[in-house]
């Protein structure tokens, strides 16, 4: 008999095989696909986020949890009726020009996605123009930028400036993150918010969307 508790603990443990098995079982037992996500994966990822923030879990473990959830998602997604699970919003995400770091950015992406948002991950080493093009195409509520080097942090400022030049800045929220990024820097370059870690990034998304 399928239980949400089991699938939750499998996600938290980052056990990909077990998550896949339990998801298949749930599908066979005609559990609502949306319920698998909303009552199985997402509460689990919320716990993961909290533990990570408190230092009870570490990056590799969080990544594994997120990946295991994605394995399950792959199985559930095709069964979702169009529009059944309405994304709460769209976030365009990427690592800025000159910066090749992507672990943190990927983690943020997965955490935000598990929070019920559509995430469009543009990748790494992105010119400001790439962000602008993605904003035009996807009309997101939020743009998230990551930089792991002090030398690439300024590319965030340039990206915000280019959004202004294009008239896209109004009505859009910009959030930034990455190890060297500080609140002061975020204010200086005119971003709407900064998150020190992946778990707070999801909270920040909630806050910015509801602002």
């Amino acid at each position: 008999m399928f239980s949400f508790e089991e699938i939750q603990s499998a996600v938290m443990a980052g056990d990909m095989a077990k998550v896949a098995d339990l998801t298949r079982q749930a599908i066979e037992e005609k559990v609502e696909p949306a319920a698998i996500i909303n009552e199985g994966y997402i509460p689990a990822m919320n716990v993961v986020g909290k533990r990570f923030k408190n230092g009870d879990m570490f990056v590799p473990e969080v990544l594994m949890a997120a990946r295991s959830m994605n394995t399950g998602m792959e199985l559930v997604k095709p069964l979702l009726v169009e529009g059944e699970v309405q994304a709460k919003g769209t976030v365009v995400l990427g690592t800025v020009k000159g910066d090749l770091h992507d672990i943190g950015k990927n983690l943020v992406g997965m955490m935000i996605e598990s929070g019920g948002y559509d995430v469009i991950d543009l990748g790494i080493d992105l010119e400001p123009e790439k962000f602008v093009a993605a904003v035009k195409e996807n009309k997101p509520q939020i743009v998230g930028m990551s930089a792991l080097l002090t030398t690439t942090m300024l590319a965030m400022k340039e990206t915000i400036e280019l959004l202004k030049e294009e008239g896209l800045r109004d009505g859009l929220k910009v959030m930034i993150g990455g190890a060297p990024v500080s609140k002061e820097f975020s204010d200086e370059i005119g971003a709407d918010g900064y998150a020190p870690d992946a778990a707070s990034a999801t909270e920040l998304v909630e806050k910015l969307i509801n602002a």
Binding site: L154, G167, F185
Partner: protein, 677 residues
């Protein structure tokens, strides 16, 4: 007898053209005058105003006009021209980027070019395409606007196109980067087009003003007020007419500082329809960082940051669910309506003495009266509207009289659409009426005001004095609240103090609506300078609520013209120096983008060239005794704690020139002062 140097200030406002003569030595207003503004031809009003000034000054002081060393004009002409869509035919040439959103011209072409955010060429300028585009527009346009993608980071493409256009078209060319250094390709393009469109309009105005001045033998330099309250010369105005938009309110702020000698203040300008609030810092109005909005178009023009509230002497006082509301609708005060049409008093008394006063009137109040303003086009009217017009054509009436003449139920008469189209005016109860009831005013018919107030008081179960007192207090609280809101906006907050539920208990106590358990007090750290007709009646208690000093200066009714006459010339811009990804530093100046290996060289260059550039600009703008200040600010930002590293973001070189306007018979320039860091 005065024989010093005199400045003539003129303001062509929405209703009146005001003029003042100010003695430049004693800094006193010598004489003032008002004439009706003539919208079809502003110079008629200016001429009438000068006539008044001349006669008055002749009578009081003898011949003064020959001592006029300076003429300064503040005008709504540019704003009106934009709102009404007037002006020349303009071509817009876009470099390296298309434009969505509305542009105020039909001739728009785009060629390859433009730069990236670092000011590097995004793609080479397609000069062949530029020539083709120019030839295609030739003969169809009176002026050309050029707007390049990121031209504020590197203006070179716009400058190249300007040279080509001047050669091929021989018409005025406006480059967007010369009007603003702000980001926003769309807004810069709109600003350039509007500026180009205004060129003939402003040139015509300046010429006709000159003609009027010649009639009076005045040959002094002519200056025009900009939206930030500073002045520019006739020549610069011809090039940058867009800078004159919203100059009226800015001029009144400058006038307020002159008349009171205060440099830090909140300036409140209360009129019939609206109350404008602006902050004065170091003698200049705060600037709106987003740029001015005119005729629904967002521009990148520097203009004073003014918060406008729909609350004035003629704002409607109305009841909604038993609660008294103020504005934002503007109506005719009942006292005005009754003094023009005395028979309305009888109709209003009939409302008060019958059960009519108990009735709900949809879209209005039982004491509303309607007055026909113009003969409308019959085909745009509904059958009921036609009948109403037929009744009003004979005489204005109270809503119940209209209903009984048409034998209709009053709730079937919805006249809002006629009022919105300015076919009929509605007269209703206003703060102006209450001031008549209280005996502060007696300009109009107090009886009209009183009967309206009596009906309202009856409906609220108050006696007349009680109601008048409470309603006037409510108006004062609204003004005080609006003032706080404006200051809150200036501090960067977007909170709406009238709507934010969390603030309600505190705002209510600050404004004295609620005193339960505890009280709240705010204290403004600067005085309120109040101008406009009704301020002496409302502002003392507003200032008391905000615990600050109130100043109502003499000559406040011509503050705009005083502001024009006493304004200064001010030019400023910012140069950015940023680290380059290839090493070294990039200087982004309004005239060029330049690379340097060392920061110190970049800073030296920016400072010394910036100084020359701004001195030149200030002199061209008509300044004398120019004081140039160059300030350097290095922006560093902390990184996250564990990184313990400071990040160099950029160096900002702020270059500013301030001078007084050059007077007649004065050598160019005067003495200049340069302060560097």
């Amino acid at each position: 007898m005065l024989n010093g140097n005199i400045a003539l200030g003129i303001d062509t406002g929405g209703t009146y053209t005001d003029g003042v003569l100010v003695d430049l030595f004693s800094q006193l207003v010598i004489t003032k005058g008002k004439a009706r503004t003539t919208h079809e031809n502003l110079t008629v009003g200016i001429n009438n105003c000068l006539e008044i000034l001349k006669n008055q000054s002749l009578r009081l002081h003898g011949e003064l006009f020959s001592n006029i060393k300076l003429v300064a004009l503040s005008t709504t002409l540019a704003t009106n021209a934009i709102v009404e869509g007037k002006g020349g035919e303009v071509g817009l040439l876009l470099l390296g980027h298309g434009i969505e959103g509305p542009v105020p011209t039909g001739h728009v072409m785009e060629v390859a070019g433009g730069h990236d955010i670092k000011g590097r060429e995004k793609q080479p300028l397609n000069l062949e395409g530029v020539r083709r585009a120019l030839l295609a527009m030739k003969g169809q346009i009176d002026a050309l606007a050029v707007s390049g993608y990121l031209s504020v980071r590197n203006p070179v493409h716009e400058l190249m196109v300007r040279d080509e256009a001047e050669r091929i078209l021989n018409i005025p060319v406006v480059c967007a980067h010369q009007l603003t250094t702000a980001l926003g390709f769309y807004e810069r393009s709109v600003t350039a087009v509007l500026n180009a469109r205004l060129l003939p309009t402003i040139a015509e105005l300046l010429e006709s003003v000159r003609k009027v001045l010649n009639i009076y033998g005045i040959e002094a330099p002519l200056m025009v007020v900009k939206g930030d309250g500073s002045l520019m010369s006739e020549n610069v105005t011809r090039e940058k007419p867009i800078e004159t938009i919203l100059s009226g309110p800015a001029a009144s702020i400058i006038g307020a500082t002159f008349l009171t000698g205060r440099k830090e203040a909140v300036v409140v300008d209360m009129g019939g329809t609206t109350t404008d609030v602006a902050s004065l810092e170091a003698g200049m109005p705060l600037i709106n960082p987003e740029g001015a909005i005119v005729g629904g178009l967002l521009t990148r023009v520097n203009a004073a940051r003014i918060s406008t509230f729909g609350l004035g002497g003629d704002s409607e006082l109305w009841l909604e669910k038993g609660k008294l509301k103020i504005g934002p609708q503007r109506v005719w005060p009942l006292c005005v309506a009754v003094s023009s049409y005395p028979h309305l008093l009888g109709e209003l008394n009939r409302v008060f003495n019958s059960d009519r006063k108990t009735k709900e009137v949809s879209g209005g109040q039982p004491w509303d009266c309607y007055i026909l303003l113009k003969q409308p086009d019959a085909k745009n009217l509904s059958p009921v509207e036609k009948q109403v017009i037929d009744v009003l054509r004979i005489a204005p009436h109270n809503i119940f009289t209209i209903a009984s003449l048409l034998e209709k139920d009053v709730s079937l008469l919805v006249l809002k659409s006629l009022v919105d189209r300015e076919i009929v005016a509605r007269a209703s109860l206003t703060p102006t009426d209450l001031l008549h009831v209280r005996g502060d005013y007696s300009q109009w018919d107090c009886r009209g005001a009183e009967v309206g107030a009596r009906i309202q008081a009856w409906r609220l179960k108050r006696d007349l004095d009680q109601f008048t007192d409470e309603a006037l207090k409510a108006v004062e609280r609204r003004i005080a609240g609006s003032l706080l809101q404006s200051l809150l906006n200036d501090s960067g907050s977007r909170m709406d103090i009238f709507k934010e539920a969390l603030l309600k208990p505190f705002i209510e106590r600050i404004l004295g609506i609620n005193t339960d358990q505890f009280q709240c007090m705010v204290k403004l750290d600067k005085p309120i300078i109040a101008i406009g007709a009704p301020v002496k009646n409302f502002m003392p208690r507003v200032a008391a609520l905000l615990n600050t000093e109130l100043i109502i200066p003499e000559h406040a009714e011509v503050a705009n013209a005083v502001g024009a006459a006493t304004g200064q010339v001010m030019e400023q811009f910012e140069i950015l120096i940023r680290p380059s990804p290839e090493g070294g530093f990039i200087v982004h100046a309004p005239w060029e983008r330049k690379d340097f290996m060392e920061l110190i060289d970049a800073v030296d260059y920016a400072g010394s060239e910036g100084e020359k550039y701004i001195l030149n600009r200030a002199q061209k703008a008509g300044a004398a005794a120019v004081n140039v200040t160059v300030t350097r600010e290095d922006i560093y930002s902390n990184t996250a704690q564990k990184w313990d590293e400071e990040l160099f973001v950029e160096t900002r070189i702020e270059v500013m020139a301030v001078g007084r306007p050059r007077w007649k018979d004065e050598n160019k320039g005067g003495q200049n002062y340069v302060d560097s860091w």
